[in-house]
């Protein structure tokens, strides 16, 4: 609080109180991606500071707490207390981006739900591999909806509450339509006339397929 960096010049020989230095060390160790050496801390702190002493105090303050001030070689870091490691177990999750095939399939389900597999393929213009839908179901972003009352009674897919939570949506109908995507700058090109579309899941789903159905030859689902 007291020591803005530019005040260094004035108070050339007056270092901030040790309690303040301790705060500084605490903040630096917390925010740093790497362990910090005493010299590195000193270089950032106001002139005359004694980071070694401050670290010493900080280390004592954290004794028995949930995190510890630990020595790493000749540097210092804040680490979780060893006995609480079990809480961190779920911290180490590896996140991967969904494949393009999966995200497209998911988008179609979100916008057109309830939608059958055949309809997804028609919109995407490629076969949807089993694994793609399975993956989405496993992620609990997609589930089976009601069967469609058409020949063959195909199953439909719908998105789940977990999907809405993940994407920060209140409901799937809040997904913006193409026009709104464009207005928000998320879509660059202008569509051909009449393709000015469609919020999520308009009832005229049948119509949507028309333009695609003619133009697109089925391709193989060569996993992108």
């Amino acid at each position: 609080m007291s020591d803005a960096p530019d005040s260094r010049g004035d108070s050339l020989f007056r270092a901030p109180p040790l309690a303040e230095q301790e705060r500084m060390v605490e903040a630096m160790l917390f925010a740093s991606t790497e362990p910090l050496t005493i010299a590195e801390m000193e270089a950032r702190m106001p002139h005359g500071s004694d980071p070694a002493e401050a670290v010493h105090l900080l280390r004592r303050r954290y004794e028995g707490r949930g995190v510890q001030v630990t020595r790493v070689g000749d540097a210092w870091a804040i680490r979780t207390a060893a006995d609480l490691g079990f809480l961190m177990a779920r911290e180490t999750v590896e996140t991967r981006k969904l494949s393009r095939a999966a995200i497209e399939t998911l988008a179609i389900i979100a916008y057109h739900q309830p939608v059958t597999r055949a309809e997804i393929e028609e919109i995407r213009g490629v076969t949807v591999s089993r694994g793609t839908v399975d993956q989405l179901i496993e992620l609990e972003w997609v589930r089976f909806g009601r069967r469609r009352m058409t020949p063959g009674r195909p199953v439909t897919y719908v998105v789940t509450q977990a999907f809405l939570d993940h994407f920060g949506l209140e409901s799937a109908r809040d997904l913006p339509g193409l026009k709104e995507l464009r207005e928000a700058g998320l879509l660059e090109s202008r569509p051909p006339d009449g393709a000015e579309a469609d919020g999520p899941r308009d009832d005229a789903t049948g119509d949507m397929f028309d333009d695609d159905a003619d133009a697109q030859l089925p391709e193989n689902d060569e996993d992108y």
Binding site: A27, F30, A31, S32, T33, E34, A77, R79, T80, G85, M88, A89, R90, E91, T92, V93, E94, T95, R96, K97, L98, R100, A102, I103, E104, L106, A107, I108, A110, Y111, I123, R124, G125, Q135, L139, H166, F167, G168, L169, L175, P176, L178, L181, L186, L187, S189, R190, P191, P192, A195, A197, D198, D211, D212, A215, Q216, L217
Partner: protein
């Protein structure tokens, strides 16, 4: 909101016409710097040096109209919004100056002026809020999150993520695919190399003598320039393919001379 905008009439004497004109001139130079007519009006209102709630709308209207007039004289091109606003303000001015016509519907001049004053005040308030917001102690600037995330266990779970943006962009990509279809050509004026090759394979058996490549163009592909171009390219590629396979020989006597081919009998 209260203060009657018509209070303008009482306050106007102290308004320095010269000063405001000068201000308007300065504004003209910078017309590109304004984010629309409301922004311009807000800036003009500052020259009145009063609280926004006491701003004289009539005076402001005159300033704005003078500004537009000058911009026109200087042949500065103004966006349509500015002109729409000018028309509306001219209308407002007449409403404010003339006694109300009881037969006329719609809001009174005072109400219109009050609304404009409200809009200005609201925009100014939002500006103010924006500034306050940006002046807060911001993350990665004044406040910092944990620098190192800890990895204490070896148990790894893979989660898949995708953002809303990814989702919407994916959908947009599918739904607008027709916009970007450089690869989906209109097939009726395209002859593919495969088609040409198929055709030529059948015909080449008869080409014991040097024959002009152009004579291999299928019927209906010789006149229309587009089709002719496509068929020529396809036939040429097919001929190269056959030459590679050792089926034909190709020759061209000089640059731009006809390309000829003939069957190559097994050596």
């Amino acid at each position: 909101m209260a203060d009657r905008p018509t209070a303008a009439n009482d306050e106007s004497p102290e308004w320095d016409a010269v000063a405001s004109r000068r201000a308007a001139e300065a504004l003209i130079v910078d017309v590109d710097g304004f984010e629309g007519p409301l922004d311009l009006l807000l800036t003009l209102s500052r020259t009145q040096k009063v609280d926004l709630r006491r701003v004289s709308i009539l005076q402001l209207t005159e300033q704005y109209l003078a500004f537009i007039e000058q911009a026109r004289e200087l042949r500065i091109e103004l966006a349509a919004d500015y002109l729409v606003m000018a028309a509306w303000l001219a209308f407002l001015k007449s409403r404010l100056l003339l006694p109300p016509d009881p037969t006329e519907d719609g809001p009174s001049g005072e109400e219109m002026a009050a609304y404009l004053a409200f809009q200005l005040e609201r925009l100014a308030a939002m500006r103010d809020c924006a500034a306050k917001l940006m002046a807060r102690d911001r993350l990665f600037q004044d406040r910092f999150p944990r620098g190192a995330s800890e990895q204490m266990t070896t148990a790894k779970r893979i989660t898949y993520t995708a953002g809303l943006l990814d989702l919407m962009q994916a959908y947009a990509r599918i739904r607008t695919r027709d916009d970007f279809r450089p690869f989906v050509l209109d097939r009726d004026s395209v002859l593919t190399m495969e088609e040409a090759l198929d055709r030529m394979r059948g015909l080449i058996g008869y080409a014991g003598d040097w024959t002009d490549l152009m004579s291999y163009l299928p019927d209906g592909w010789q006149t229309d320039p587009k089709r002719r171009r496509s068929a020529t390219a396809a036939n040429f590629a097919a001929a190269l393919e056959l030459a590679k396979a050792g089926r034909v020989q190709i020759r061209q006597t000089e640059t731009f001379a006809p390309i000829e081919l003939r069957r190559r009998d097994d050596p």
